[in-house]
Symmetry: C2
Amino acid sequence: MARAATTSDAFNAIAEPQRRQILVLLRGGERPVTELARDLGMTQPQASKHLRVLREVGLVRVRESGKQRLYDLDARGLRPVHEWVGGFERFWNESFDRLDAYVQELERARQEEPHDDDDR
Amino acid sequence: MARAATTSDAFNAIAEPQRRQILVLLRGGERPVTELARDLGMTQPQASKHLRVLREVGLVRVRESGKQRLYDLDARGLRPVHEWVGGFERFWNESFDRLDAYVQELERARQEEPHDDDDR
DNA sequence: TCATCGTATGCCCATATCGGCATGTGTCAA
DNA sequence: TTGACACATGCCGATATGGGCATACGATGA
């Protein structure tokens, strides 16, 4: 197998920076493709393709308005992501202490034995 | 170009389900590779590779303990993700109203004459 | 009907993924 | 030293990405 499809879920869809930018822009209200493309400095086909992905995972909706297609945000799909990540909320505070412990661990190891530790 | 590297940032790293599971397991404390692999029903090489990615984006740390390598969670890298997604928090509540508006819009458009307006 | 604008798609290419499998590396014990 | 154990890596294959570019498609207006 290869990497999971970008359309498999919100996690994969928002892994792509440009797609994230599109979503941010859409917080300001619905917009036509060309405008999004222009504002984000990408070509129209690119924008269309990204929007397709976002649409397939349900993060945006489309509405036809004459020649244009207005894309609108539907953030509900982001909620699971927020919740999953939120499950780690208390850990990223705690991490400082853990990091301390880790550093001390290294310190100690360095003095106990003339052992090479490589990290980058 | 192809898809961005999984190691390019936390967003890409956590796009992969198995990697998410590893992180969840590590909330329970540091663990050796084989144990993680067993608990998640994956092969050892698979676990090692996923851990490598997580390590490269800084979501886990390693500590040597005899023959074993204890992986430990470092959730700090998840904070940006949480914040980014959090920026949409009020939108996924509002979405229901929007959906309503959207439906009504369709209804109306079906009966009226489509009018060109460029907002923004 | 035809030209034009706004979008969506199709194709090609280079790249990196993830899985499977085999093997290399390092540590501990006898 | 040797062997067993815990991991890391290398290689292969199948797949889909994202960018560039050309083009097809649908709606509008002359």
